[in-house]
C-alpha cells in the first residue's frame, strides 16, 4: 500500500510538471552541424541540460518543463571551436517550440592587470570575421533582463568595431551586442538586424583588471514574436491613421499599469504590415492598457506616431475572453 501511494505520487507529480518538446537546428554558415552539444541554462546560467547532441542533419530534440531558458550550442573540429546562442534568448517555454542556433567562431577572453587600478572593458564586435561599425554593446545585470533596459550600454562601435567602457563597477554582467538597421538603440531584433552574445556570459568584472572581449554577431534572417508571453487570451486589431487607413510598421502594446512606459509591457505585437493588423498575447484575465506606437523602447518622442485605445477614458480594456478587431488611431506626437 505504501509503494502504491509512492507510485501515485510520482505519477501525480509527472502530471503536474508537464514538459514540452523543443526541437531545433544548429548550423555553421547555413550548413547543418553533426555532433554539436546543446547547452540549456536557467536565468542564472545554471546548467539545466548539456548532454544533448545534434544529429547529422543538425537537428536536436529535448524536453523542458515550463520556464525561461538560455539556449547555447558548442562544437569543436580540427582545433577550431565554435559557440552560438539562440537570438531568442531568454526563451519562455510554455508550449512545444523551435530553436535555431548559428555557431560562430569562438573568441577567448583575455584579462590583464590595470596599471591605474581601475576596471575596464575593451572589445570588438565582429561580423563574418570583420569589424562591425555602429554596433552597441549592452550590459545587463541578470540574464532575465536581456530583453529589457540594460544597466549600461556603449557608444556605437567605431570603424574597427571597437568599444570601451572605463571605470566599470566590479560585478557580474551579461553582454549582448546589437546593431539595428533602423539605428534605434532599443527594440526587438528584426530581420536584417545584427545580434550576438558574449560567448562566455556572464562576465565577472573584478577590481583593477582590464578585460578584452570579442563578440561575434550574426544577421537575423527571420522575424519572431518579441516578448512572447504565455497566452491565455488574444487581442487583435488594426492600427489606423486619422483618415482610417491602416498603418504599417508600428507596434501594439499592452501594459498592466495605467502609467504606461514606467515598466515593461506585458505584450508587444510584431510590427504591423500593410493591413495594420496586430495581435497581442495576454497571459491572464484582467485590466490592460493598450496603445500602438512607431518606435520600440524608451519614451515616445516628438513626431512619433502614437495612439491609445479610445473606448475607455484611461485606455484600459478588461480581458476575460479573446478580444477581436479593436481599432487604434495613430497621430504624430506634438505635430
Amino acid at each position: 500500500m505504501k509503494y502504491l501511494a509512492l507510485i501515485y505520487l510520482i505519477f501525480g507529480l509527472t502530471g503536474i510538471l508537464h514538459s514540452y518538446e523543443v526541437k531545433g537546428r544548429v548550423v555553421i554558415d547555413s550548413k547543418p552541424v553533426n555532433g554539436a552539444y546543446i547547452n540549456v541554462y536557467d536565468q542564472n546560467m545554471n546548467v539545466v541540460l548539456d548532454s544533448v547532441k545534434t544529429n547529422e542533419s543538425g537537428y536536436f530534440t529535448l524536453n523542458l518543463e515550463e520556464g525561461t531558458y538560455f539556449f547555447r550550442a558548442s562544437y569543436a573540429e580540427k582545433n577550431k571551436k565554435y559557440v552560438g546562442y539562440s537570438g531568442k534568448n531568454p526563451v519562455y517555454i510554455f508550449q512545444d517550440d523551435y530553436i535555431g542556433i548559428k555557431l560562430l567562431p569562438f573568441y577567448d577572453l583575455k584579462i590583464k592587470k590595470s596599471k591605474s587600478g581601475r576596471s575596464k572593458i575593451k572589445g570588438e564586435v565582429i561580423f563574418e570575421g570583420k569589424p562591425l561599425k555602429n554596433a552597441i554593446v549592452y550590459f545587463y545585470l541578470s540574464g532575465k533582463d536581456i530583453k529589457g533596459m540594460p544597466y549600461i550600454y556603449t557608444m556605437p562601435t567605431n570603424k574597427n568595431g571597437f568599444f570601451e567602457i572605463n571605470d566599470i563597477l566590479p560585478g557580474r554582467y551579461f553582454l549582448v551586442a546589437r546593431k539595428k538597421k533602423s539605428e534605434a538603440y532599443f527594440g526587438p531584433i528584426d530581420e536584417g538586424d545584427f545580434i550576438g552574445f558574449f560567448q562566455q556570459n556572464p562576465i565577472n568584472i573584478e577590481k583593477g583588471k582590464i578585460y578584452f572581449v570579442k563578440i561575434p554577431v550574426f544577421k537575423k534572417v527571420q522575424d519572431d514574436i518579441p516578448n512572447q508571453v504565455k497566452a491565455s487570451f488574444k487581442i487583435t486589431g488594426y492600427a489606423l491613421d486619422e483618415s482610417g487607413k491602416p498603418v504599417a510598421g508600428v507596434y501594439a502594446f499592452a501594459y498592466k499599469n495605467k502609467e504606461m512606459g514606467h515598466e515593461r509591457p506585458v505584450s508587444i505585437s510584431k510590427k504591423t504590415k500593410d493591413d495594420g493588423y496586430f495581435e497581442l498575447f495576454i497571459p491572464e484575465r484582467g485590466v490592460y492598457y493598450l496603445g500602438v506606437r512607431q518606435f520600440y523602447g524608451g519614451t515616445p518622442v516628438q513626431g512619433e506616431l502614437y495612439g491609445l485605445y479610445e473606448e475607455t477614458y484611461d485606455h484600459h480594456i478588461y480581458v476575460e475572453n479573446d478580444v477581436k478587431d479593436i481599432k487604434i488611431t495613430l497621430r504624430k506626437i506634438l505635430k
Binding site: 495605467k258 485590466v287 518622442v301 479610445e310 477614458y313 506626437i333 506634438l334
Partner: protein
C-alpha cells in the same frame, strides 16, 4: 453646480478597482464651466472635447481615496483641449473640498497627449500634482501652485511657463525634459522643499531664465539618473554670493556621480513685476 458621483463596487485588484469604481464623466464636445464645479471621480476631456473654464470659477475636487494609496483619486484628465481663462482679480481655483488643503487631497489636472492647453491666472492647491503636462503644447501663465507634492510637472512637451508662483510644494517644478523644448521665465519659485527638480533626461532644450529661485530647501536638486550638465543662467538665487548659491544647488559638488548645474551669469537682483514680459503666444 455639478456633482459627479462615485460608485463603490468592490471587485478585482486595486488598479482594476479604480478603473471600475470611480465615476467617469467624458467630455467629447465643447463645454464651458463657470462658477463652482465639483468633481467626485474623474472628468476626462477626450480627443475631440474642449473644456473652457471661465474667470472666477472654482473647481472643487472631492477628497476620496478608493485605492487607499494616500493620494486622492479625483482628477481632471485632458487629452483634447483645455482653456483656463482666469483674470488677475478673478483667478480660476483648482482645490480640494477639505478645509486643510493638504497635499494629495486630490490627484491632478493631467494634460496628456492633448491637442492644446492654456492656463492663465489659475491657482492649484492641495493636489498630488497641481498640473502635469506631457506630450502636449501648453502655455501656463500668471498662476499659483501651492501646497502640492509637485506644483508643476512636465515631460516631452512644448511649453511656455511665465510669471507663475510655485510655493510650499515638495517640488516647485519637477520635470523629465526628455524631448521637450520651451521657456520657463519670470517665475517665482520659493519656500518649496526643492525649487526645481530635473529628474532625468534633461538636455537644456528648456530654457530656465529670469526666474527668482530662492529660499527653497534646495533651489535646484538634480535627480540620480540625470547624466548631462545643466544650465540655469540668468536667474536670481536670493544672493549674489556664489558660495551661498552653491549651498542651495544639489549637484556634483554634493555627489560626484551627479552632473554639474551651471548658473553663471546669475542675476544680481530679483526680477520684479515691472520686469515681466510674458509672450502672448508661443
Amino acid at each position: 453646480m455639478r456633482i459627479f458621483f462615485l460608485f463603490l463596487l468592490f471587485f478585482y485588484s486595486t488598479s482594476e478597482l479604480l478603473a471600475n469604481t470611480l465615476f467617469v464623466k467624458e467630455i467629447t464636445t465643447e463645454e464651458v464651466w463657470k462658477g463652482r464645479v465639483f468633481i467626485e471621480g474623474i472628468v476626462a476631456v477626450k480627443k475631440n472635447g474642449k473644456l473652457i473654464i471661465e474667470p472666477g470659477s472654482k473647481i472643487i475636487f472631492k477628497t476620496i481615496d478608493v485605492d487607499d494609496d494616500g493620494i486622492g483619486d479625483s482628477e481632471l484628465y485632458v487629452e483634447g483641449t483645455i482653456i483656463v481663462k482666469g483674470k488677475k482679480d478673478l483667478p480660476v481655483l483648482f482645490t480640494s473640498d477639505n478645509d486643510d488643503k493638504l497635499p494629495s487631497s486630490w490627484k491632478y489636472v493631467m494634460v496628456n497627449h492633448a491637442k492644446y492647453a492654456y492656463f492663465d491666472y489659475a491657482i492649484f492647491e492641495g493636489a498630488f500634482s497641481g498640473l502635469q503636462v506631457h506630450f502636449t503644447k501648453a502655455i501656463v501663465k500668471n498662476s499659483i501652485f501651492r501646497n502640492n507634492i509637485d506644483g508643476f510637472r512636465f515631460s516631452t512637451s512644448i511649453i511656455y511657463v511665465c510669471n507663475n508662483k510655485m510655493t510650499k510644494n515638495r517640488h516647485g517644478i519637477r520635470y523629465e525634459e526628455r524631448d521637450s523644448n520651451g521657456i520657463v521665465e519670470f517665475n517665482s519659485i520659493f519656500e518649496n522643499e526643492i525649487g526645481i527638480f530635473p529628474v532625468t533626461k534633461c538636455r537644456n532644450k528648456v530654457n530656465f531664465r529670469y526666474n527668482n529661485i530662492e529660499k527653497n530647501g534646495y533651489n535646484i536638486k538634480v535627480g540620480d539618473e540625470q547624466k548631462e550638465d545643466l544650465s540655469f543662467k540668468n536667474n536670481y538665487f536670493g544672493t549674489v554670493f556664489e558660495r551661498e548659491i552653491r549651498k542651495s544647488i544639489y549637484d556634483k559638488k554634493f555627489d560626484k556621480n551627479l552632473p554639474i548645474i551651471n548658473i553663471k551669469p546669475v542675476s544680481k537682483k530679483p526680477f520684479m513685476e515691472c520686469d515681466v514680459k510674458c509672450l502672448e503666444d508661443f
